[in-house]
Point group: D2
Chain length 344, copies 4
């Protein structure tokens, strides 16, 4: 008696995150990858477009009736374009992990402010924010999981232990990402000659991942307006967030004394992540190479006695834990599989 395999499709598999999700599901012992779709690249083989993924499937044009007969779907469409397809899939009872931003924000006004009027507001309430380390229970039963952005993933794992205690008065997040985070589109900004031997900030002072981070910090107990600035680095995969935390009551101007609640900051983190298989704590600041091609987030926590600040560094692979493998982690939870199956 063997368990039946769960059928799954990846919609929008020609981009970096969709293609990697397809690879992980194609090799997954439980899921059976039924179809991969694309628009401009329909008709091309996925292993022609991404030889290193070695997925011997042809990208197909979307045919909803046929493609929606799966048990589960990963949607890797651009923001705004995903909602409509997600709605169609949900109407057919397909359980969905959506890689876009469309269902991450719970407040329609906030979504409208940072994106545009929401295209499928009726689904927001049912959507679960797909960061298993924060919302494991809800993901298990979810019909729609909104996979977090790569920056929020690293930032929230870096800050959650403090946020839960309500002691973040203020935080500056200086984020650094490899170029794959900018997606597959060939532009002036992704041209090798633009990026090589270069580094610069972008999305200043309003990057769209900001409200997503603030929403989750507030939900954890630390409502705070953050400063978040991403930078583009000359490397492929990998993301580092450097978080500069002023401890104190949220909304206050903070204080220089960490206070008794976090007397031993390292212990707070050790306890918070003792049972998390995909979070590692280190003494020295981690490097993005340490987690390349893994679902792991690696953290280090430091206290600056001179300023009283707590500094937290977190690294992830933006395409894995920041997108594709985290989606599979949620799928594992949704379908009763071991959480690390196919991504360890």
């Amino acid at each position: 008696m063997t368990a039946e395999r769960t059928t799954v499709a990846v919609f929008g598999a020609a981009g970096y995150t969709g293609a990697l999700t397809a690879r992980l599901l194609h090799r997954h012992p439980h899921f059976r990858l039924e179809a991969v779709t694309a628009r401009a690249d329909a008709g091309r083989r996925l292993d022609d477009l991404y030889p290193h993924h070695r997925v011997p499937l042809v990208l197909e044009e979307l045919e909803l009736e046929r493609h929606a007969s799966v048990d589960a779907a990963v949607v890797a469409y651009p923001h705004g374009a995903a909602a409509e397809l997600v709605a169609e899939l949900r109407a057919r009872d397909v359980r969905v992990v959506d890689l876009s931003a469309d269902f991450r924000l719970r407040d329609l006004d906030v979504y409208a402010e940072w994106y545009r009027p929401h295209p499928a507001p009726e689904l927001i309430d049912a959507a679960v924010y797909g960061l298993p380390e924060l919302h494991r229970e809800q993901i298990v039963d979810a019909g729609l999981v909104a996979n977090p952005g790569c920056y929020p993933t690293a930032t929230l794992l870096a800050l959650a232990p403090l946020a839960r205690r309500g002691v973040i008065a203020d935080v500056v997040v200086d984020a650094k990402s490899g170029v794959s985070g900018a997606g597959r589109a060939a532009t002036d900004a992704t041209h090798f000659v633009s990026v090589d031997e270069n580094v610069n900030a972008y999305g200043v002072p309003r990057h769209r991942h900001t409200p997503e981070i603030e929403q989750e910090l507030a939900a954890l107990g630390s409502p705070v307006t953050i400063t978040f600035t991403p930078h583009l680095l000359p490397l492929d995969q990998g993301e580092l967030v450097s978080c500069y935390v002023t401890l104190g009551d949220p909304g206050s101007n903070g204080g220089r004394d960490p206070g008794s609640a976090v007397a031993d900051i390292k212990r707070v983190y050790l306890e918070a992540y003792a049972d998390e298989p995909f979070v590692e704590l280190t003494d020295a600041p981690p490097g993005v190479r340490d987690v390349r091609d893994t679902n792991i987030c690696r953290l280090s926590v430091h206290t600056d006695a001179r300023t009283g600040r707590v500094i937290v560094f977190a690294v992830i692979d933006n395409l894995w834990k920041g997108a594709a493998s985290q989606a599979v982690q949620s799928l594992n939870l949704m379908f009763g599989r071991p959480e690390g199956e196919g991504i360890t």
Copy 2:
């Protein structure tokens, strides 16, 4: 009737910054490079060690009597080792630009805390901090110029206009540097395989450039304890500092209102740098490529209406404006030459 050329020697020319200084002086229309010295590499040609600099001189072992007969000297020795040679040169009336940290800090206790007991305290008072944009007048007459560190150069140019107005309550400086900043020594940390496709913080939470920045910010009018964290990037030359400023009275916890003193932050910067030939202001965050192989610091200033923070980005070439070309800029001032001669 031609002006006589000023003779100069570079002591410690086998390292990255010493070698580049030698190149700039070798091609300089006014200075005449008389000698380059080294220890381990004595006897080798400089253009064998650094082909791209094309300086056809042999590195010599230090012979003080002979080498100290120059008008000017650049000392590119390690911290701690420089002071003794500088003292010898000053005793012979050679005017010196010292690239080490030995004469940057005015407070002997601070020096002792971050380095060790000072080896030549009697020279501290006469030393001038060699950031021309802040101390141009004193450099002109100086016998000993302490060339700033690369991080302080970028950070101080980024913050000076605000510091002068006394409105920096707090600042987080997240700095990113290419590998040449780590020097020529072959170590695990500078091995290509360690750096490539990687990024990590280092020197956490106490990097030695911190007190140098604080000293100069205080001198400008904003005594403040800063948070300063450098990161190592997979690129050769180039440095970016991202400065997150909370405005307010120094020593206070800051406030969310910039206040009337800096009602128009951009104008403050435009006025501050209107006559500076080596500072450029841009609207978009600058990239380090924009200033590679130049003496230029490029800045952008942004206000985050959500948090009230001012964000300043500054890029320099760590080997040029962060070391060698800034030394030549000071030499030009010291010997009555046009400030940009040989470095434009």
Copy 3:
């Protein structure tokens, strides 16, 4: 009833190839990694030295009696130093895969010419050249497998189908390798600043991998003196060999007509590799990214009608198929496991 696991040790696991071999064996479903040894790094944890490999073992000093109680060993010592340990292990009936060059050359004079007098000549005859695609049968029963060099692996897979037909009159091999091929030692040549934005040939005109390639080409039927030139590229893992073949009788000056024997060159390659799980043929010249972190060699074959030359490109990951995963491939064969177990 389950198969008992085979115990294995990796000697010299602090270098790049030894460490990767340890990782592959640590995760291998059949082999059980008993020990990892090192000299300078003894006492350090392997997952401290190489976080991304995640092997939670401590590097031990070699204690032969204790460490030689395993069924199998991988020796990752430098050339010359390996032979003695291999002899000790063989004397204890441990089956060995040796990553060094010590047992690759069958002719003691040739070994002496390119290296030095051979330290353990009595073992040469029993050693098998560990390129499974050429010597699969012998590897199965071997007590000592000499794992090929990374350049010979790619070159021989590129040329074997032609060499077997005896039609290689002459060949120029222009090879390009990432920096990990130069090993872990921190030197001027592996400093990031030396390699970044650079490319140069090295080992001109006599690189030590040359006789190894010639020996195997001759064994296949094409005795030929080759021109082999490696180049160092600014990347981490990956190796490309570009082979320019003049067809004709070996030893002749070649001819411009491929001749009937290879009328359809592509078909020759398709047939030669039809059943090889780790060789892929492509139409376009392959890139090293296509095979990163895999045991795969990817090839393309082209005929230049203007010159009559056959051009073959082959890419491998120098640390995987060029060293560690190929060693595991041989171990799988030696112990009756599926050839791709633990490396697919």
Copy 4:
């Protein structure tokens, strides 16, 4: 009494080579850069598009009557598109350096075979191949100079001393180039993620620079059909050609004996380039970093006693000596200036 400055315009200054030419001419002590033109980018400032060039001019749409009033022009149009503009400029007696391939080939049939029917065949005879080291005399008086391709520049300088003696029987040229050689267009092939940590051959087996190299080798005395294969490397500027020469009568199958004519190969090269200011000979294989941002070609010559082959390595900066600075070198010759003015 000072020499009047020569006016010059750069047509097509939005691409990499046009923009760099504009920079060199903008800072040139003799030439006066009157205008820079572009199509898609007309209206943008050149120092906005290329901050590091610091050319404070606005790109203009082409207005022939106005723009053709200069003394000299550099045309940096795509192949095929350049000929028409060149014809217009020549009709107005403007002296032209054309960076395209349109006037490099002297044989119209060859041009048609590798490109298309020639758009301005009447100008071919008057065009001079702009490699000063080979055609200095003719460039001085030329009205139209066809600037060589980057690969031919390096290859011809590598082979000219042998070609002049008529001793090249056969040659394989394995060329490696940085990404700037692929131009400014943002494509899948120039996306950072495609190039980073990668290397592959392209243009196999027929790259368009082949006939240009063969034409000039024949003109020098060695008519030979070459094998030429370029590779794309993960770096910005820089080009290395590795030339594998079989000595002997051209057209023969070569021989293993260099013969008396080239008994001392290194001396042949030393003599050939003794008076060339922009060619350097080294003992060790040169790296592309050695010549970055210069007009210099650096060479090393090696004899492989085992095969009798001569191996020549040559490095240039593809944007400088391979395009822009070589164009200025020709302009200097055409207008009676010191050959290295503005490019040293």
